[in-house]
Amino acid sequence: MGVGQDLLNVPFPKMIYDMAMAIAKGQLALDKSSVNTLKILANTKFDYIPEITETLTPRPFSPPSKPDVTITGVDVHTDISPSAKLTLLQAGIVPTFYQFTESIIEVKMSISSKTETSSSLDVGVEVTASADFLFGSASVSSHVNYSTASKYSYSVDGSSLLRTTLKPAPPPQRIMPRFITVNALESPPKITFSE
């Protein structure tokens, strides 16, 4: 198997698809949760007291033991304006929306291929000769030893990293309600829009 084939075997399209699907599912679940939060905030009412007026007026007095000494006193008169029912959403608490901003797929591969060849050659020649009265003889022997060994190893190690960043995002305009305030205290009534 070649290195090129190993690289081609990395299932990139599937990895990207799986990650995209996981992000889409995650985004959907987060958006649903934020919309639920929006509903809860819109239904949670509390008594909002817009103003408390404290009026301080001087009230000097003299202690009975020392009638000639005047102590600066003060009267505090508190006026509480009528409360109004306000939802948490109107008051200024909004659901947090999240958005996947960046996703990374990182694949690391380590391919190693090793070939080892060793060979040995052993050549030997032996010559023996003898001579006698009438004849002589000689013998020659030779040997050749040849050995060869080959080792081949191939290994592929791989690791993959999938990283995605989640950040808070401003609420989508179509999900957030628009507040229309009609101020009938003014003539003609003043209408203001806010989000």
Partner: protein, 101 residues
Amino acid sequence: MALQMYIVALRNGYSEEASRDVQRLVRQCDGYILMVTRTGPLIALDDSKAGVISKHPLVGFMGPVTLNPRGIAAERLQRIFAENLSKQLEIRNTGERGPDS
């Protein structure tokens, strides 16, 4: 520690006991009670501990929220949050120092 603001909705509607139990749980998780409503408390909690609260049987729903500075009562809410937070920080600091110090 990344503190995030959440609204906690009680599962079976408001009851003083349930609200108190949830608040106690939030404190045990090193969170802070910013405000108590009839739906449930508004809390500040570390992201990593959110699962402990949301899985509690008394909790029906828990969602992250943000304070919109342009809201009608945003300033007032901010002041309420700060006031409640400072009280809890005082209690925590006293607890950490111990009664003798």
